[in-house]
């Protein structure tokens, strides 16, 4: 039995509340079933919406005849894309993994003219029950002209490949511009390549000439799903006054509001989006699938409408991450210095442009100091669901290629793989291969903590066992965020902020306020506001919430603190400057007898000037990158090819862990999702583009029975751009696992596994091939 020490924190600074581990405010509701999720809204007269989906992966929709369905008793509305306006092809930055063209997104929510993947929504029905709605779907007659699908980027870029969009604009841009459609008379070759762009640094040719050792490799990965527990669900009510209220589970109530309004052609002020609790999202709930359809059905029926996806619908019609094909070539001197790197990353975007290849190419070598490089990124459409963000979108597949190539290079150089990374790690001021110089980063410190860990210093014995390490880089995000702190007469503070709480952010926000005001975190009452009651806040995504919304809460609390000082000064009839706020007590700086507690002033706030309300709207720069280093021990079963994880340790720079157990939870969750991606998970398609494993029985995600305790070490290299040093923590832990496990398998059996997942059948075939069977 391994000794497990939770929350090992290599701390940089101690605070009163920050870094403590209180029980989350929403915990009791969640463990007792009182918390209300996307499907938990019910209203009088509510109808149930169901969606008709294309049985074909690629087909022209020649006509839709819904007359028989509309005539059924209990059916109140049938809608298709003809029921809403064409959305402009304007690009919108939603800050959740890819830049979206809302015209394409609209066509993803309801197909217009063509069905581009099996499961693509074609029509929807609202009826008195789900059974009636499902029956009505069978009465809708759709005349399809079935086309040949193209199911991989490799096939889609070949000359003569089936074309998904007749007028797709192939863009070569410094920005990741996920295309658009050309004018009908524009002169352009048809293509499935939506974008291709490059980065260059130094002199690549000379770099490879100077290299003593060169490694080249190619990796492939398949689409995998985010696998959140709660399917997309929501209720929309289009009221008689033209206003629309939406209750749904999402990563951004403002995105729900904005997309619903844009797709339906109404002002955003007509839509109120109320965030329900969210049962996981990992990026995929940063865009809408059900809310605009529910609103459209509600407008047509005059009743509130609930739409809730089934698990097969989640798999077949909501975004997985991209399948990829990546090549890398690395050159190093014999003394272990990386001096040249070349890579080509081809990412499948699904049915519409906009894979996360832009993020992938910037993160692939982000943690290394390499003077000469050239990277090419390609975004390709295929007949699969539109790829959505998934935890560090794009970076895991890129790291799988890069970090396994580094392992090969370290072996050829006969250098310890951790030491090799230390020798080439980026530091503050060093230049990344994509151009910018690094801000303060904790890569060296994280590698050193991994090197010092008992895991790395304990021998691994046993046949067919191996150890692997890999690191990961993620850029992290910021964005606009809002918070309002209201002092109550009993001395508590009600805190409203705009970030849906996926990973415990309510308590993290409350801790920011508690720290500023020296109050108990239990005296802070956090809630997530709807779009009419809090200022704009960008999605819960990009590992941004604790940074950006933390800043907003910090500023709101500072405002409260200043107002408390002013109230004390008013009571004592002295200048504000003579009042000191310390330990939640207002004190006269030169007269120790004059003291008022926070609670005492709260009780007197109305007669001393009225309510005390602190608010803040921010868009702070400098979230700082995150770094993770993972090490794993595996054992390979030679009879079955199954790989067992024996021991797993994840080391990560969090800047400052506001609530260490939740940081640990993010690290463990990311590592476990990465283990599933490494060993089992993939979309399996037949030749016609039909998914063969769209259930959790057949889409194998890891369970607790498959895993050891994931040990964690939290390194704290404070981010100077946050008052407590925070860096985002949610995404980078999914970046290293696939490479670490592949490297461990190589250490165990001497075979490089370059195709994900490294499932038992592939491992067994590789073993047989090695043995000449």
């Amino acid at each position: 039995m391994l000794e497990y020490k939770p929350n090992t924190v290599l701390s940089n600074q101690e605070f009163d509340s920050i870094g403590s581990s209180p029980v989350r405010h929403d915990g009791a509701d969640k463990v007792t079933g009182r918390a209300r999720y996307g499907a938990d809204t019910n209203m009088p007269g509510m109808l149930y919406g169901k969606i008709l989906r294309s049985p074909h992966a690629h087909a022209v929709i020649k006509s839709v005849d819904a007359s028989e369905a509309e005539a059924m008793p209990g059916v109140y509305a049938v809608v298709t894309s003809a029921d809403w306006p064409e959305t402009s092809m304007k690009l919108t930055d939603l800050a959740e993994g890819a830049i979206h063209n809302l015209g394409f997104l609209s066509m993803n929510v309801l197909a217009r003219g063509k069905a581009l993947y099996k499961g693509h929504a074609v029509a929807a029905v609202a009826a008195v029950s789900t059974h009636v709605a499902e029956e009505a779907l069978t009465k809708i007659k759709v005349d399809y002209e079935v086309l040949t699908p193209v199911l991989s980027a490799e096939e889609a870029i070949k000359p003569g490949a089936p074309i998904l969009h007749d007028r797709l604009a192939a863009v070569a841009s410094p920005a990741l511009r996920p295309g658009g459609l050309l004018e009908d008379d524009a002169d352009s070759l048809q293509t499935n390549i939506a974008n291709k762009f490059e980065f260059s640094l130094g002199d690549l040719e000379q770099g490879f000439k100077d290299a003593d050792i060169i490694v080249e490799k190619e990796t492939t990965t398949r689409a995998v799903h985010q696998g959140y527990i709660e399917p997309q669900a929501g209720v929309a009510h289009w009221q008689a006054d033209g206003k629309v209220t939406v209750w749904s589970s999402s990563q951004g109530q403002f995105t729900v509001r904005d997309q619903t309004a844009r797709f339906l052609g109404i002002p955003v002020s007509q839509v109120k989006a109320i965030p329900m609790e969210i049962g996981g999202g990992f990026g995929a709930k940063g865009i809408t699938y059900v809310e605009p359809v529910a609103a459209l059905l509600s407008r047509k029926s005059g009743r509130p409408v609930k739409v809730q996806l089934s698990r097969p619908e989640v798999f077949e019609a909501t975004g997985p991450t991209s399948g990829t094909k990546i090549k890398v070539k690395l050159g190093a001197t014999k003394d272990g210095k990386l001096i040249a790197a070349e890579a080509e990353l081809i990412y499948e975007a699904g049915a519409f442009p906009g894979s996360p290849v832009g993020a992938a190419v910037q993160c692939m070598m982000g943690q290394y100091d390499i003077p000469n490089a050239h990277l090419t990124a390609v975004d390709v459409v295929v007949n699969m669901p539109k790829a959505a963000a998934y935890r560090a979108p794009g970076a895991p597949a890129a790291a799988f290629c890069m970090e396994t190539a580094l392992d090969e290079l370290a072996e050829k150089l006969d250098v310890d793989p951790l030491e090799f990374r230390l020798m080439n790690s980026g530091k503050e001021g060093s230049r990344r291969v994509t151009g910018p110089v690094n801000p303060l980063v904790g890569y060296v410190e994280t590698l050193q903590a991994a090197k010092d860990h008992a895991h790395y210093n304990t021998a691994l014995d046993g046949k067919l066992r191996g150890r692997g390490i890999a690191s990961g880089f993620w850029g992290n995000n910021s964005g606009p965020a809002s918070a309002v702190a209201v002092v109550n007469s009993d001395g508590t503070v009600s805190l409203t902020e705009g970030s849906p709480d996926i990973g415990g952010s309510r308590v993290a926000m409350a801790l920011h306020v508690a720290e500023v005001l020296n109050l108990s975190v239990e005296d802070i009452k956090p809630q997530v506001g709807d779009t009419d009651s809090i200022g704009f806040t960008s999605n819960t995504g990009g590992s941004s919430v604790t940074f950006k919304t933390g800043w907003a809460c910090y500023n709101a609390a500072q405002s409260v603190k200043q107002q408390m000082i002013e109230r004390a000064a008013k009571i004592w009839e002295i200048p504000d400057e003579d009042v000191e706020y310390k330990e939640a007590v207002l004190q006269h700086k030169s007269d120790p007898e004059l003291k008022l507690t926070f609670k005492q002033i709260a009780a007197r706030m109305i007669p001393t000037g009225g309510p005390i309300v602190g608010s803040a709207g921010v868009n702070p720069p400098g979230p700082g990158p995150s770094i993770g280093v993972h090490m794993v021990d595996v054992e390979v079963d030679p009879e079955t090819g199954k790989v067992d994880i024996l021991r797993y340790t994840a080391v990560q720079d969090a800047g400052k862990a506001i609530h260490p157990p939740y940081v640990e939870g993010q690290i463990q969750g990311g590592a476990v999702q990465g283990i599933g991606w490494a060993l089992n998970e993939e979309y399996v398609y037949n030749d016609n583009g039909g998914m063969l494993n769209s259930s959790f029985l057949d889409y194998r995600m890891p369970t607790s029975l498959d895993l050891p305790m994931i040990d964690t070490v939290i390194v704290e290299v404070a981010n100077p751009n946050h008052p407590y040093g925070v860096r985002g923590v949610g995404e980078v832990p999914i970046v290293p696992p696939m490479a670490a496990i592949s490297n461990a398998i190589y250490d165990a059996i001497g075979i490089r596994m370059n195709d994900l997942p490294m499932s038992p059948d592939k491992v067994l075939e590789a073993l047989w091939a090695k043995e000449g069977k």
Binding site: I99, A175, P439
Partner: protein, 89 residues
């Protein structure tokens, strides 16, 4: 003057130069001066209708992604990059 790093696809507009020196106390002024020096480059960086950077394009000033875009300040010795914005999950 600030040093602006030009993406490879746009280097044909800067005579093949990866870095160019440009005046400008804000990103807006810097881009306008860049356009004056190298005509045709602005349309790849700016949405003229919205008077903002093209959606999905991030401007990085001295290693940090700007949250203010066209309105952000640029130092006399700043280093400026235009890269795809990184989102997240």
């Amino acid at each position: 003057m600030a040093e602006v790093w030009i993406p490879p696809k746009l280097q044909q507009l800067t005579g093949g130069n990866q870095q160019v020196q440009v005046e400008g106390a804000t990103v807006r002024r810097l881009i306008n001066n860049l356009e004056a020096q190298h005509p045709g480059i602005k349309e790849y960086l700016v949405d003229e209708v919205e008077d903002d950077l093209i959606p999905g394009l991030a401007v990085i000033i001295d290693g940090e992604v700007s949250q203010l875009g066209m309105l952000d300040k640029v130092g006399e010795d700043s280093e400026v990059h235009f890269l795809p914005a990184i989102g997240g999950g």
